[in-house]
Amino acid sequence: MKKILSPWGLLAAGLLLYPIIFSDPFYRDIGAAFLLAAVSASAWNIVGGYAGQVSVGHSMFFGLGAYMPLLFYTLWGWSPIAGIPAGILLSIALALVIGMPTFRLRGHYFSMATIAVAELIRIFFGTWNLVGAAIGLQGPATARAWWDLTFRSELPYYYIFLAVLGILLYVTFAIEHRRFGFYLRAIKASERAARSLGVPVRQTKMKALALSAAFTSAAGSLYAIKTGFIDPDSGFGILVSVQMVIVAALGGAGTLFGPLVGALILVPLQTAANTWFGGGGSGLTFILYGGVIVLIARFEPGGLFELWHRLAPRRWRRARAA
């Protein structure tokens, strides 16, 4: 009973009940968008937050994951589900290939290298006819069976996304409490010191990138299956990568629930901006992201989670004194 009433038990209950309480498709859609942003940012968080390797090119994995289900459907008429593991495997392979040269670089150089690779892939997909070039690919318009994952209601998507988020959070929690998690945090703080203690730095970073790529790819697949459409910009565009970074950094990079907190704030804000300004506010997302970057960098580089950790004890101290 105590566990259910803990903040995280209440959060889980809230997430499970949300689409039942808010049955309007608009709110359910916001809920699904929140979960997808939380999955993407939590996946990025493994390598960007815990290991401190700030990739700004994670859209390369998101895009691969998004293209594969629709490519399997377009080429062979297979269920988009079949494309999900293919996307994950390809993303892991890409992570290993990309990780080898880029992990020789540190800090901003690593970030810039990841942007360059993601942009190269975006341009390549934009000219490759097999994947629809600049036009992109479409999924099944009407479902042939449930395994096409083409639903009229937002509800099944919401719960599929929630299940994936649950798995990802469990994996991240397990990592946090194992040797691997300790190594990631040590690498983030000081690679040189970590190596001197016998931490296999390159190998650990590669593992983190591969795991992060796998979940980011899954997020991409979920996005494409729900939207039923993918093109180079919505799959590999830099905004996709930036959103993952911002969501995680806003909530608290390197914390289990930081990305959730970030998504909880940013996604409704984005939706509100889009609703208020409609098509005329298409550039507003950039302004919003820019504003969030400035605020985090200036006032709270550790994100809202760290702010809460810093302020909460003080409040408790005051309450106890009273």
Binding site: R179, R185, R192, A193, A194, S196, G198, V199, V201
Partner: protein, 261 residues
Amino acid sequence: MLLEAKNVSKAFGSFEAVSGADLAVDEGEIIGLIGPNGAGKSTFFNCLAGDTLPTTGRIVFNGADVTRASPEAHARAGIGRTFQVPATFDDMTVIDNVMVGAFLRHLHRNDARDHARRIVDLTGLRPDQPARSLGTPGRKRLEIARVLATDPRLLLLDESLAGLTPTELRDAIALVRRIHEMGVTIVIVEHIMEVIMTLTKRVLVFNQGRVIASGTFEAVVKDEAVIEAYLGRGARRPPPYPPPQAGEGSSIFPPPHAGEG
């Protein structure tokens, strides 16, 4: 012999930071590396720790050639090191910092935690204290605790006792003694002569990348080359070195006027 470095040189472009240095360390020894700033001690130290690749020479540890081995391989082989500027993992607690070291030989979390707790108790730190909140002495202790958790056979201490108050220094010297009594061989780079004099049986003096003298502390301070390296050419030979009181000055030699008149 536990460690043998033979003819180790390290050049950065045309500048030779270390030139043909030799060092032999027996199991159970405490050896001091001293020398003026820029003498090449730290570069040589980094070569021993696997952090810097020597240009020439050979380093053998426990019968295995580790000259070109990575820092990780050095740690696995049993060579641990601290850093001149403490590199603690600031977002982690003391016990978590030490667990990173403990994981090298204890794969399971509970084993690593138990081992780390024993080491933390030895160093007198509070296990749940955030590393970020520690001052310089605490951070230096934490670094020592963290490397001890890797169960090293050879411990390389890079100015780990610098910047401490006299009381902290006494405690730190006692800690190094305890570590030595646990059977760990120690090589220590230090500017504080009290530390070198109190802890070491043998000292190597570096100057301009070369080992210019080696022997007991009392012997090397009388060496003409050492006097010249510290005080300059033409300096008078100082009188026999009086051991300072704990916490007193850090100069190798007393002021030139001491003992005169």
